[in-house]
């Protein structure tokens, strides 16, 4: 038989003005299972809490109902008080007779009766409550950062500087990402590489960071604090320990006409290559798809010329596994550069290029050493057109969103062009100028007012070639849709920022949600912008949505703080308000039949599969669902979905809720 205590709070006059608190307590005292009931002016005050504590001890109470304000207000207070008196805190329920009763009804019998009903519902619930213990989950204090662009670099450094180990993996042969390809950066026009490369080197040298380039995540198992990552180290065909990075091999390699990814196809590289001079690590890899040795079994020149015998043909991809406690996704973005714009002649006309290609042209380390020369004939374009929103904000192209960075980099491009080609003429076609950011609007104004960039508000309908010129046909909507036609030497498309290749596949591997455009989804658009729905996996940078460098760095530091915060705890303590699959003695083991429909219902991928094995033979008897207490957030969707009622929820169990509903109605 339960021994329940009911404590009715007057909340000064807040409750007592409309509810007869004494009557509520006297009526509750007669409820089955109620051992003690009283009312008091302020239950949350020290004397009020002492009243509860003393009653627990004196009457050996095994359950408490405090009828007071909303549990969202004082449930923690009263649970703590119960705990201090030796009662399991989860054996305390709060009946909301203030916000849901005294404040919303007039004084009268009906109001008092409603308060009594609410108390009765919770008396019945608490008599079915079970003592619960907080859940402690151990944490492996090592983070995995996926992606070595500025986001991954920043996150890795912040986590490492907080004193935690970091594994940073990068798909390409070097870290640096898109930022390393940029010439100057808005709105300060400082050189991208100048500010980035020191960070790259810091990563490589940081004692807490282990860097794997040319590596991809193969598999991620486990849950927050306890992930197991399997990483594929793609074969580089060199022995990095021996290679000195002297560069002899790359100069001797006979296959020299491979379009350079780093230069966006505007320059070439060899089959054994370092993507760019400042690469970290500054050691080459062999591109098996283009290497004569791999493709035709001939050559092998690099092997012959290597002074340290570092070339290892026949190396295979290898796999390593790492236990990590948190994962930061920093896989970045890409720009549309396929045959996406037939109307602009991209892919057809050599001198129609993307913004990223322009970055390479403008970059001192680029194929033209920073001179703006058009790809077709190397001439300096005298007239250049920039088209903003190439793809972005265009539902017809399937990209209704704004890519956010294009307005700014287009202004920067036009400005750089004007700085380099003083007599050149530049025109920007734009829809709107979005320059919200510190010093951003000033930057755009500078391009227009100081550098004389011609801004035309309107869309470009077509670009076609005529007599060696690119004819850009558009309209100027500010002049009443007046047709505009420009004979340009070069056209730069500010193509939309899109999710990086393989983002969807990676999201599925990690069980994180993603939006229709394959950008990873944050746990809450406002309040949890760097977390994902999967506990322990965080987002940094443009893999979540197009972002500029300052936003990316801020997000990366935000994600790093989340990781550091997680790692600063001795272990993970969670409220035990989670779902649980029933277990019983053999031969039943559990009533779960393993249909795993709960798996798809769970927003947190907290449902795992548990094999129940015969202790002697090891044979699997049945496979049932198991709720991972580290991942479950306690929404209870699985509980109401389970047909055989094999999953129940602690704190809101079927029996508890059933009893509460029954009791509320039986007046």
């Amino acid at each position: 038989m339960s021994k329940i205590g009911v404590f009715v709070c007057h909340c000064g006059e807040n409750i007592a003005a409309t509810v007869d608190c004494e009557k509520v307590a006297n009526t509750a005292a007669k409820f089955d299972g109620v051992e003690f009931a009283t009312d008091y002016k302020y239950m949350c005050s020290d004397p009020g809490q002492n009243l509860i504590k003393n009653a627990i001890k004196e009457h050996h109470l095994d359950g408490v109902v405090v009828a007071s304000c909303s549990p969202r207000m004082h449930e923690p207070t009263f649970r703590k008080a119960c705990s201090e008196a030796g009662l399991n805190p989860f054996m305390c329920e709060v009946a909301n007779i203030r916000e849901h009763c005294s404040w919303v009804h007039e004084k009268g019998d009906a109001t008092t009766q409603k308060a009594i009903d609410i108390v009765r519902g919770l008396v019945e619930k608490v008599s079915r409550d079970h003592p619960l213990e907080s859940i402690h989950v151990p944490i492996t204090k090592k983070a995995l950062v996926i992606g070595g662009g500025i986001a991954g670099i920043q996150a890795s450094l912040d986590i490492a500087n907080a004193g935690h180990k970091v594994i940073l993996i990068e798909r390409d042969p070097s870290i640096g990402g898109h930022m390393s390809q940029l010439s100057e950066t808005f709105p300060t026009l400082d050189c991208s590489q100048c500010i980035l490369t020191p960070r790259m080197v810091e990563v490589a040298q940081h004692p807490n960071i282990t860097l794997y380039t040319y590596a991809e995540l193969e598999k991620l198992e486990g849950f927050i604090g306890n992930f197991k990552a399997t990483i594929r180290l793609k074969a580089k065909s060199i022995d990095e320990d021996v290679c000195t990075g002297c560069g002899t091999c790359t100069t001797k390699c006979p296959t020299k006409k491979i379009p350079s990814e780093f230069n966006q196809g505007l320059g070439n590289r060899t089959a054994i290559y370092v993507p760019f001079p400042q690469a970290v690590p500054n050691k080459p890899v062999i591109d098996k798809d283009h290497c004569l040795h791999y493709q035709k079994g001939v050559c092998g020149l690099c092997e012959k010329v290597c002074p340290t015998h570092a070339i290892h043909f026949g190396q295979d991809d290898s796999f390593i596994t790492e236990d990590v406690g948190a994962v930061v996704l920093a896989t970045g973005f890409n720009v549309l550069n396929t045959d996406f714009f037939p109307e602009y002649g991209y892919g057809k006309y050599k001198d129609v290029i993307t913004g990223l290609q322009f970055e390479r042209l403008a970059s001192a380390s680029g194929p033209t050493s920073g001179e703006i020369r058009r790809p077709s004939d190397g001439k300096i374009p005298q007239k250049i057109v920039f088209i903003a929103c190439a793809g972005s904000r265009d539902p017809a192209k399937g990209i209704p969103y704004c890519s956010k960075i294009c307005c700014m980099y287009t202004a920067k491009h036009a400005m750089l062009y004007q700085h380099k080609v003083h007599d050149g003429e530049s025109t920007v076609f734009y829809m709107d100028i979005r320059a919200a950011g510190k010093n951003y609007e000033e930057f755009v104004r500078r391009a227009i007012e100081e550098d004389g960039v011609n801004y035309v508000r309107g869309r470009v309908a077509r670009v076609y070639e005529k007599d060696g010129k690119l004819i850009v046909k558009g309209v100027d909507t500010l002049l009443g849709a007046k047709p505009v036609e420009i004979e340009a030497d070069m056209v730069v498309l500010a193509t939309a920022g899109v999710a990086n290749a393989g983002a969807e596949e990676l999201a599925q591997k990690l069980h994180v949600s993603y939006d229709p455009y394959h950008f990873f989804a944050e746990a809450h658009p406002k309040l949890r912008p760097v977390e994902t729905n999967t506990a322990g996996i965080y987002l940094a940078g443009a893999c979540q949505a197009p972002k500029d460098i300052p936003d990316t760095v801020a997000a990366a530091s935000g994600a790093a703080v989340k990781v550091a915060g997680l790692f600063s705890q001795p272990d993970l303590v969670r409220e035990p308000i989670i779902a649980k699959v029933n277990r019983m003695p053999p031969p039943v083991f559990s009533t779960c039949v393993g249909c795993f429909m709960c798996e798809t219902a769970c927003p947190y991928n907290a449902i795992e599969r548990e094999e129940i094995k015969d202790r002697r033979s090891g044979k699997v008897i049945k496979t049932i669902a198991k709720v991972n207490p580290g991942l479950c957030q306690g929404c209870g969707t699985c509980v109401s979905f389970c047909r055989s009622k094999s999953i129940d929820m602690q704190g809101f169990s079927n029996e508890e809720m059933f009893a509460e509903v029954q009791a509320l109605l039986e007046d």
């Binding site: 009533t591 709960c598 219902a601 047909r643 055989s644 009622k645 079927n654």
Partner: protein
């Protein structure tokens, strides 16, 4: 011996399977037949009079054991195999489906093959069912209530609907849960109705439409109408066909952010 019997006998004698579940002529109509030896297969038949959904036997380990099993399949049985596999109750490849294409015996060993066959052989609601359904839907709410309460009053809670349903494979049914006692175990209009509501809700998106529940009912409650009506609602609201073995989640364990919600204010 029919080609079907020959095929079944061959599978048994080769040792490909340890059991063939099929149909034979019974004392009144056809009935399920379990063949464990090649000679048992001699009496196998498969025609449109084979109405039991023998797919349900596939989830009973006491009958199946751990080896491979073959089942002679009507379209309903095939849908059952597909759905049970999606629900992790069968392992793809462990069940061989024997079907008839005219005189020829088809042997299908993978879910993909079965799905292809099912896609090529769609089954629509019978005219009789369509008529009954629209007749009931045309009634006023009170009339429908009276109709169903009269039906529920007949129910004796023998659970033949549950036992005959190939997708009611829980080891412990919700009616056997007594903490809390969701549904009173005795036969009474309310608990009978609650049982049917539960049974049907638990079939949401899963029902293969074989009608076994209905035919099994000894007091002739038109149970199929409940699942048919629900499957229609689901199709209309979510554009999803029931019982097609969707592995990405059941209709109630998945969602679309823009699902209709005209009843929510």
């Amino acid at each position: 011996m029919s080609k079907l019997s020959e095929k079944a006998a061959a599978l048994l004698s080769e040792g490909t399977v340890g059991l063939v579940i099929g149909y034979e002529q019974g004392t009144h109509g056809t009935r399920p037949k379990f063949c464990r030896k090649a000679e048992d297969a001699a009496t196998l038949i498969l025609n449109d009079k084979c109405l039991n959904n023998i797919g349900g036997y596939l989830t009973k380990p006491e009958l199946i054991g751990s080896g491979k099993v073959a089942v002679t399949a009507t379209l309903a049985v095939m849908r059952t195999v597909v759905q049970l596999t999606a629900e992790h109750q069968l392992t793809d490849g462990n069940v061989i489906v024997l079907a008839l294409d005219g005189d020829e015996v088809l042997q299908m060993a993978s879910i993909d093959e079965i799905k292809k066959w099912l896609a090529a052989h769609p089954e629509d609601l019978s005219d009789e069912n369509k008529a009954l359904l629209s007749k009931l839907k045309a009634l006023s709410r009170e009339e429908r209530w009276n109709f169903w309460i009269n039906e529920m009053n007949k129910c004796i809670k023998c659970y033949a609907c549950r036992a005959s349903c190939p997708l009611c494979y829980c080891n412990r049914c919700i009616v056997e849960v007594n903490c809390p006692q969701w549904i009173k175990p005795w036969a009474a209009p309310l608990s009978n109705m609650e049982w049917q509501i539960n049974r049907v809700m638990h079939m949401a998106g899963r029902c293969v439409g074989c009608g076994a529940c209905d035919r099994a009912c000894p007091v002739h409650i038109p149970l199929r109408l409940l699942t048919i009506s629900m499957a229609g609602d689901i199709k209309e609201a979510f554009g999803v066909a029931s019982g097609t073995g969707n592995i990405d989640g059941n209709v109630l364990s998945s969602f679309k952010p823009d699902d209709k919600e005209n009843f929510i204010h």
